[in-house]
């Protein structure tokens, strides 16, 4: 482990105050010894940087998928006091409300295995990759409605069923969206991209439930062994990227105005009570809602393809859940025995609310919130459930994915996209992407093993394993 870090428990480590000057609280992160071998010093530095921010409560936290990002480390979580705390785009990221959702189907493995036509049709139906355009022509008024009401706008416009909304974090719509603070540039980028997947690590996968760890929770979530599901991973596209860019600039000025000292410019922030802070929150919530509407539209397209190809009912493909993993939100948490509202930043971390939380669907109240952890291409994804331990220790948060261990250029040198595709096909996984580079970039082995990351969060108890899924068809962005 990196020098200066203190071991607290088997999978828990502390970055003590004084690790860098100006830390207000210690940093805490969850990692197994083997995952610790690939921990980058830059990621720890970023965790310590977060601990210097005004109004931070208890600890700057990082989940076992911690890696070197910008501003916060990826896997970073921090809660700020509403009185003297701050809000920062560096704690959310460029891809506001990048998130993931899982939808079940009545199909079984045998129905989809080897069905290249399914992968091809999904690939043609959902615009993917760099420069992909939506066939949908959004009007400026529709864009505003999308940013204000999120997935609800999509459902009201025929891209889903009302039941979908119950199964989204925040019911697919964050309150407090203020489109006045979304620039003309952001809107211009948002209009042609509704319903597009994007590129990088974003994907649409056809998966099969391979293993059930918690039968009671799995039944409550509507998941059974051998069942075919679809997982969608994407965010707020150019609109969200522009909101972040615009507000980092605005908040840089605010950082000076409010005399906040920061070790990294990308952590530019403003008091939660300030006009600049409120404006960023309003714009960020609007971009988050755009992302929920976007995932809802992709879900609709996916259902249409499956419905036509397999003659199954649209209504027979319910959503298990939709989680945001790049977001800042006002939530109630117990701090030093007292319940209080705080602003939780999750940058590459997933909300994992436990049983009894008022913010999860009532029918899942005794189980906890479904947590969806996407694997990398060709490796397992996991469904977990939120826990009381997460509420107590991580402001109701857990990991968000596997976390890269190899750069894109190394990945391309190691194996071509063509080789990766052929190898995956040998395992029964059909991959389609607009370009083979996108496949080489995201090949299995460039990420930490997702099994080890979820084992750590399960062992620490900040979420508990429910099911494992593996892909049979992959659409890469």
């Amino acid at each position: 482990m990196i020098e200066g870090v203190k071991r607290i428990d088997t999978n828990e480590w502390e970055v003590p105050e004084g690790f860098i000057p100006g830390m207000r609280v210690p940093g805490r992160f969850f990692l197994s010894e083997s995952l610790g071998e690939s921990l980058e010093p830059g990621a720890l530095q970023q965790l310590a940087n977060v601990a210097t921010m005004p109004g931070i409560i208890k600890n700057a936290l990082a989940m076992p998928d911690i890696h070197w990002g910008y501003g916060f480390p990826i896997g970073g979580v921090a809660a700020f006091s509403l009185e003297d705390g701050v809000i920062s785009p560096g704690g959310v990221g460029f891809d506001i409300n990048c998130g993931v959702r899982l939808m079940t189907t009545p199909l079984s493995f045998a129905d989809v295995s080897g069905r290249r036509d399914l992968v091809d049709q999904l690939f043609h139906a959902v615009p993917t990759g760099v420069g992909a355009k939506s066939s949908l022509k959004l009007s400026p008024r529709s864009l505003d409605a999308m940013m204000t009401t999120g997935a609800r706008w999509a459902v009201e416009n025929g891209y889903g069923v009302p039941r979908d909304l119950v199964r989204c974090e925040e019911s697919g719509c964050m309150n407090g969206a203020d489109t006045r603070h979304v620039s003309a540039k952001a809107r211009q980028r948002g209009i042609p991209q509704g319903g597009t997947l994007g590129s990088g690590n974003h994907f649409l996968e056809v998966q099969v439930v391979r293993e059930i760890f918690d039968p009671v929770a799995a039944e409550a979530f509507g998941i059974r062994e051998g069942q075919v599901c679809c997982m969608i991973h994407c965010g707020s596209r150019g609109l969200g990227h522009q909101v972040c860019t615009d507000h980092v600039k605005l908040l840089e000025a605010a950082t000076k105005k409010y005399q906040i000292k920061l070790p990294d410019r990308q952590l530019a922030c403003a008091p939660l009570t300030s006009p600049e802070g409120r404006e960023y929150f309003g714009a960020m919530a609007a971009a988050a809602n755009y992302a929920w509407a976007n995932r809802q539209m992709i879900t609709h397209t996916t259902r249409q393809v499956l419905s036509t190809l397999f003659r199954i009912d649209y209504e027979d493909m319910p959503l298990v859940y939709d989680v945001a993993h790049n977001v800042a939100k006002f939530e109630d948490h117990v701090v030093d025995g007292k319940s209080m509202k705080v602003c939780v930043h999750r940058k590459g971390a997933t909300r994992a609310f436990g049983p009894g939380s008022a913010d999860i669907p009532p029918e899942l109240s005794s189980i906890g919130q479904p947590v969806i952890i996407p694997g990398s291409m060709g490796t397992s994804s996991y469904i977990l459930r939120g826990t009381e331990t997460a509420m107590e220790r991580t402001f109701g948060s857990t990991c968000h994915g596997a976390g890269r261990i190899m750069s894109r250029s190394q990945a391309k040198k190691r194996m071509s996209g063509k080789e990766v595709t052929e190898n995956l096909l040998k395992e029964g996984i059909i991959v389609r992407a607009p370009h083979e580079n996108a496949i080489a970039d995201e090949a299995p082995g460039v990420y930490k093993p997702s099994d080890e990351v979820v084992r750590v969060v399960h062992d620490v108890g900040i979420s508990r394993l429910v099911a494992r899924l593996s892909p049979v068809g992959v659409i890469k962005g």
């Binding site: 830059g42 891809d95 540039k185 990227h241």
Partner: protein, 135 residues
């Protein structure tokens, strides 16, 4: 015109060296476009932009962010730029061509230009830049 890619696990880290700030920014543009669209970029159309910022780092972030915006909304892929920087103001004459999926789809979409890991340093022989593109 030169830049190299440095190891970075999650994103793309670029180092460029140039005798002048103007040339350094031009290299940064070349790196950004190569990451997004590959090497096959031609100069068929031109476009001029102006950016003004408080310091060199902010000027670079604002310039490249403007490029990301124009490239996406105008669907343009830039091949080179003639850049003049003076007194915190940048004027660029950009050359490029319309996005062509058959030649430009092999890159990675850059989500934003981050200040984390960004540095513009100088010695007697010129400038050096480190920058991370969020992909």
């Amino acid at each position: 015109m030169s830049f190299t890619e440095l190891p970075h696990t999650a994103d793309v880290k670029i180092r460029a060296c140039a005798p002048t700030l103007d040339a350094l920014f031009s290299d940064a543009l070349d790196a950004l476009m190569q990451v997004m669209y590959g090497k096959d970029r031609k100069g068929r159309v031109s476009k001029e932009i102006d950016v003004e910022s408080s310091d060199n780092e902010a000027l670079l972030a604002d310039f490249l962010s403007e490029i990301l915006f124009i490239s996406e909304v105008d669907r343009l892929v830039f091949s080179r730029a003639d850049i003049r920087i003076a007194g915190g103001k940048l004027h660029a004459v950009l050359e490029g061509e319309p996005f062509d999926p058959s030649r430009h789809a092999g890159g990675s979409e850059v989500k934003g230009i981050s200040y984390s890991g960004m540095s513009v340093t100088r010695d007697t022989n010129g400038y050096m830049l480190d920058i991370i593109f969020d992909v």
